[in-house]
Symmetry: C2
Subunit: 241 residues, 2 copies
C-alpha cells in the first residue's frame, strides 16, 4: 500500500452514494413491487435509473445557460417517475403513493460491506458523501441504513452537480485541505476521472451487480485510479484501517 499511497497524508474520503454505497437496483425493485403489485421491479428500477443521466444533463444545461435554478434530485426523480409510470401502463397512482414511491430513493439498502467498512475508515479519516442526491435524501438514507457519515455533502451544498469541478474541489475547501488530501471513492470510472482532473485521489469500488445480477458490470481496473478495491471493507484494508 505504501508505494501506492501514503495514507498518512490523506485526510478525507468522499463517497459517491448510488451504486457505490447503496444498492439502488434491489431497493427500487423491491419498493416498486410493493407499491405497484404486478410490476416487474427490476425492469422498473432500470427504467427509472436510465432516466437520470438525460434529466441531469438537461438540468445542467439549463443551469449553465442561466435559465433555471438548482433542482433537487427528489424533483428530478419525480419528473422521471411520471414517464416511467406511463411506460409501464400505471395510470391510477394517487399523489400520496407516488410521493411514497419517489422517496424509495431515501430508503435504499446499503451494500452488505458498507456500514462496517465505513466505520473502519471513519476511525482514521473524515468520511462524507459526495452525491448529486439532495441533503434530505442522503440524511434519511444514512439514518435508516446506519451509514456513519461524519458529514453529508451534496450537489445541494455546492449548487453544482458532479462532474462539475466545484463539487470535488468543494470537498477540499470545506475541510481546508489540498485536493490530493481527498479521495473520491466510487463505482463509476467517469466520476473518478473527473475527480482526478481536479487533483483528488481516486478509489474504485467494484459493484458488479449494480444493475442487477442479470446484467453484470465490467469491473476491471483502470490503472489511473490510486486504488482498486472489491468493496468498502477492502478499501479499508488497502488504507491500513
Amino acid at each position: 500500500m505504501s508505494e501506492v499511497l501514503d495514507g498518512s497524508d490523506l485526510k478525507v474520503i468522499a463517497f459517491d452514494v448510488f451504486g457505490t454505497v447503496v444498492d439502488w437496483y434491489s431497493g427500487i425493485a423491491a419498493e416498486a413491487e410493493r407499491i405497484l403489485p404486478g410490476i416487474e421491479g427490476g425492469a422498473f428500477a432500470l427504467a427509472w435509473r436510465a432516466g437520470y443521466q438525460p434529466a441531469m444533463r438537461s438540468v445542467m444545461e439549463r443551469l449553465a445557460a442561466g435559465e433555471g435554478g438548482f433542482t433537487l434530485l427528489d424533483e428530478l426523480h419525480m419528473g422521471i417517475l411520471e414517464g416511467v409510470l406511463r411506460d409501464f401502463g400505471v395510470s391510477e397512482l394517487d399523489s400520496v403513493r407516488k410521493r411514497e414511491l419517489n422517496k424509495a430513493w431515501h430508503r435504499l439498502p446499503a451494500w452488505p460491506d458498507a456500514v462496517a467498512g465505513l466505520a473502519r475508515l471513519k476511525s482514521r479519516y473524515i468520511i462524507c458523501t459526495l452525491s448529486n442526491g439532495n441533503i434530505g435524501l442522503l440524511t434519511e438514507m444514512a439514518k435508516r441504513a446506519g451509514l456513519p457519515w461524519d458529514c453529508v455533502l451534496s450537489a445541494e451544498v455546492f449548487k453544482a452537480y458532479k462532474p462539475d469541478p466545484r463539487t470535488y474541489l468543494g470537498v477540499a475547501a470545506v475541510f481546508d485541505v489540498t485536493p490530493n488530501q481527498v479521495m473520491l471513492a466510487a463505482a463509476h470510472h467517469d466520476d473518478l476521472a473527473a475527480a482526478r482532473t481536479c487533483g483528488l485521489r481516486t478509489g474504485y469500488i467494484e459493484r458488479p451487480n449494480e444493475f442487477g445480477p442479470a446484467r453484470p458490470k465490467d469491473v476491471s481496473p483502470h490503472s489511473d485510479n490510486t486504488l482498486h478495491a472489491r468493496d468498502i471493507g477492502a478499501l479499508a484494508d488497502l488504507l491500513g484501517c
Copy 2:
C-alpha cells in the same frame, strides 16, 4: 408533555451549537493557556467571543449590500483573533501557531449531557446542527467530541447567517417538512425568537455557565418557548425519548 407539544408531529430538532451543545468558554480558555503560556485563558475566551457579534453584523451588512461574498466563521474568527492578540500584548505568534489557535473552535468540548442526550433524541427525530459555524468546523468538532448528528447544517449551506429566515426555513425545506415540524434548540433567546417568527417550535436549553462560572447567565424561562429544559438530557425527557 402532551399538553405542551404533540411530539409525534415533530420530525427534526436543529441545534444551535456554540454555548448550547459545546462549552466554548472552557475550550477556548484551555487552548489559549496551552498555546499562549501566561495568558489568562478565561479573559481571552471572553474577549474573542465578544468580537463575534460585531464582526458578524458587519459581514451581514456587507452581504446585504452586495459588497462581499459569504465569509466562513474560521475567517471571521481569525480576523477577531488578530485584534485580541494585540489587546493581550501577544506580538510574536507565528502563522502556524495562530492557525492552530484559531482552530481551537474545532476542538471545543461538549457539555457533559450533550452526547447521551443527542443519542436519545436521535432515536426518534432527525437531529442536525444549525449554526453560523462552517461545515468543516462543525464536522471536525462532532468527530472529536462524538456528537452523533444525522446531518451538519450550517449558514454555509444556506449562504445566509442566523437570524436570517432562510436558515430556519432552510432546515424545513431540506427535510421536506413544515416549519412547525422543526424545533430549534438553543441556549439563546434571540435565536429562538427568530426561529419562532418563521414558525418553528423552540426549546430553550439552560447553560448558566456559558460565560464561565464567574459570570452566571440568567436562564429563567420565556413563556414564548415551546419547551424549557435544564440540558439536552432534560429535553429528551420532555420529548419522551
